[in-house]
Amino acid sequence: MSDVETTSHFWVAAPPLYSSTLLVAPGRDTSGDGRAKTQLEIFDMDGTQVNSVEVEFPCSEVGFVELEPFTAALKMQGGVAHGHLKVTSPEGTRHIFRQTVGSSVVLYQDPVPVASRENRFIPVVIGGRREHMVVLVNAGEEEGQIACRLFYGNRSPEWTLTVPGNGSRVLSLENELLSSADQKVWEKGAVQAYVRLSGKLQSPIAGHIVERILGESPEQDLYRCLLSWG
């Protein structure tokens, strides 16, 4: 690996609902041998490394890495086995994440983690047969804290969420965060809301939301990823 590297942090979840593939578009041929090396490290939700692998591609093509074989050791939390994928490649490499959630496909670039005293926002519509899972990935080795504030109507409740170093957490917006009945006035209809993520400790945390739009049956549910950087 070269001295200057591109490092990305993604949330990875296990089948059957989730299926993830990493696309790697190499930059220059820094090694001079026409090959590009990419290091993948997978951590479980508590930040314990459960897999590490180095993959190599010809510099002349976009590499594909299907992640399913590396997710077997991930732990369940919030109804899903999930963790943190750290990808390190030579400078100039582009990492694109292709995630299938149910029958929905989404492609996104690496999110910019929120460091201490920084803010990111995610627009979200609450109510209207939608459910939301807040996904947090700690890109640092130290325990991280993030303030998650939800703006909706004239309310703006805030929660402080903790994520272990290199770990990940998922929380249901409707069932775990907006748990008290008086906070659920939005259930009468769909309401435009905003999630604001503010870093509290030095360890940078990447966040996004997986939205589920309930269909007539679970097979008809639609999913989309709402990223704080997409």
């Binding site: 299926s19 041929d29 976009v62 594909f64 299907e66 492609l107 803010n119 990111r120 926002f121 950087w229």
Partner: protein, 260 residues
């Protein structure tokens, strides 16, 4: 707060307006560790084929408070005559001249009855008295600028679930001829995309033939091909923006958008 903070920042995006797709614009004015809620002026400009560039000032914007608007409410012309792809420019400014708004964010939501997708704009850049500087200021701004430099590269994908288009937005009053490349390293070739008219946005589907020479990958969902897409450094100006849009090959509805 930075000593030489710009008084205004801007970003360039695109929107869709058709009988089945409408656009919502969301923005979040922020200035690093500044926690106040002072007023922020947001000026949104719409331009594109068939409409003269027009701007509206959105009232009520405040620092650290996310906000948004249905584009049709800001530009009623989208309810009636205009249909297609359009360019959008957002400028954020503050009366407090020393406020550094470079870490502000904007998101575009393309809403259709079946589903909707959202993408984030290219990072804001300084817009001082019309003379725009791309110099990053502050730690987060520098990281965002680094992310933007990295993101001048995109990936085109073609398989049974995804096709790819390149979106080019030109907010200047001059015709542009951007240099776009496909392929990696020494094998990169020019992608003929033609000219972009002044104050316009255009979508160029990446043809099947573009992927013919790429190695097919047998994935869980079937055969997939991918090609690196990059923008030449001379084509990167503060007044232009490039996005990769992925569409469902059958329904043609947008699936994802990534900023270049």
């Amino acid at each position: 707060m930075d000593r030489a903070a710009p008084t205004a920042v801007k970003t360039v995006m695109f929107c869709l307006s058709t009988s089945s797709i409408k656009t919502r614009v969301h923005f979040f004015p922020t200035a690093g560790s500044t926690t106040s809620h002072q007023p922020i002026t947001c000026v949104l400009s719409l331009f594109g084929k068939g409409i003269e560039k027009r701007s509206v000032m959105l009232d009520g914007g405040r620092l650290n408070q996310p906000d948004g608007v249905r584009l049709e409410e800001a530009f009623p012309t989208l309810r009636n005559e205009a249909s297609g792809i359009f360019g959008l420019e957002m400028q954020l400014s503050s009366q407090q001249g020393r406020l550094n708004l470079l870490s502000s964010q904007a998101a575009i939501e393309l809403v259709s009855p079946q589903t909707s997708i959202m993408y984030y704009s290219a990072p804001f850049i300084a817009d001082v008295d019309g003379a725009i500087s791309m110099e990053p200021q502050g730690e987060l701004s520098q990281r965002l600028a680094a992310a933007r430099r990295r993101s001048f590269v995109g990936v085109g994908v073609q398989d049974a679930f995804v096709t790819t288009s390149l979106i080019m937005v030109n907010s200047t009053q001059e015709t542009m001829r951007p240099a776009i490349f496909h392929g990696v390293g020494g094998e990169a070739q020019s992608l003929p995309v033609g000219n972009i008219s002044p104050e316009s946005a255009m979508e160029i589907p990446l043809e099947e033939s573009l992927f013919k020479k790429t190695t097919p990958h047998e994935c869980l969902w079937g055969l997939s091909r991918a090609e690196k897409i990059s923008v030449g450094p001379d084509s990167l100006t503060p007044h232009t923006a490039f996005y990769v849009m992925y569409r469902d090959p059958v329904s043609k509805r947008p699936v994802s958008v990534c900023a270049l």
